[in-house]
Symmetry: D2
Subunit: 117 residues, 4 copies
Amino acid sequence: MDSRVMRDIEELKQRLRQFAAERDWEQFHTPKNLSSALIVEAAELLEHFQWLTAEESINLPPETRAEVEAEMADVLLYLTRLADLLGVDLLDAAERKIQRNAEKYPAHEVRGSATKR
Amino acid sequence: MDSRVMRDIEELKQRLRQFAAERDWEQFHTPKNLSSALIVEAAELLEHFQWLTAEESINLPPETRAEVEAEMADVLLYLTRLADLLGVDLLDAAERKIQRNAEKYPAHEVRGSATKR
Amino acid sequence: MDSRVMRDIEELKQRLRQFAAERDWEQFHTPKNLSSALIVEAAELLEHFQWLTAEESINLPPETRAEVEAEMADVLLYLTRLADLLGVDLLDAAERKIQRNAEKYPAHEVRGSATKR
Amino acid sequence: MDSRVMRDIEELKQRLRQFAAERDWEQFHTPKNLSSALIVEAAELLEHFQWLTAEESINLPPETRAEVEAEMADVLLYLTRLADLLGVDLLDAAERKIQRNAEKYPAHEVRGSATKR
């Protein structure tokens, strides 16, 4: 495995596909299992913040910062692996979701309010 | 908001930053709150799979497939927004995590086994 | 189904067992699926708090309070159903866990600190 | 801390209240934080099942079984602590939820189907 920096999510998909194939892990990578693994990583991320105040959660000590970054990477890995299995283009899906949110939450109507619609 | 397709995560960061600024939502977007929002979306994703068999989770009906895609987008949105706030380069972090996993799980040692190390 | 108040977790186990049997839902109630359903309910609980400040989370408006209560009930239902399937006595397990925590976190050593051990 | 077995959830509430007070942990136990801690424990529970088949999730090896039990206890501890803070009677809430579910999912209509309503 070389150390070149990844260019985009498509390349990440390829890398994860190869990683799973080399280990015969495709059998475990059902969408059901991957979405479980994803939420487990999301919880490991949240765990770093669970007892912190809002202010503390912004100014993390370097060691916590590094662990948080690793958990965020794990979330992205499982999300990307799932996207590969289901044939989802994540940036396209994000684009569509932002447009839907823009219609649902017009800036002039929701300014300063976090109420869900 | 135009309809051009996003090119990369950096552009997504910019879009989400602007989206939050226009709505005065920065006050809610602490790392603590965003990691909560992220796990809530991860749960909405998992909910689609919770009673399905492994096989059913691969062959989703079109409507479920579209909802799953939207939930995956939500996970990416909050993950990217959090990355922007903490100054994390997600693809770099993913690269480092894959390399760490490659050392932790050498292919010839873990083939076909899902046991955590 | 009568409206008598439940006396204890054992009675809740019986009620849930009957509820599942009447609907032929035992086939879905594997420990794997139930622990997914449990975390989905835990997320619906968390969702009510995700954008709130600590102070706001204590003083909930009545409607939110009722919804929070219903989500807490859902967590208990799935936890109890899982306990029934795995033959776990939840209060015994809680007792053992509290004793372990008391050894791990002696009051005089950890006072006022939320650091995990 | 004596070793007597707990009789009910009310006693568990008292024990947890005392445990928090002795450690000056009330400051961390906001509903917002406790619901985060609860979902983190729910994820640690799910983690044991994430790569297992349905069948494997029923027949756990003894060591996994013990760990699963400890995670289930953690979920109950945080749920009970939250119930104490919000003044929720968990068994009452469970009773009400079962009755609502019975109306929403009449046995003769939903037999053998896991479709959400």
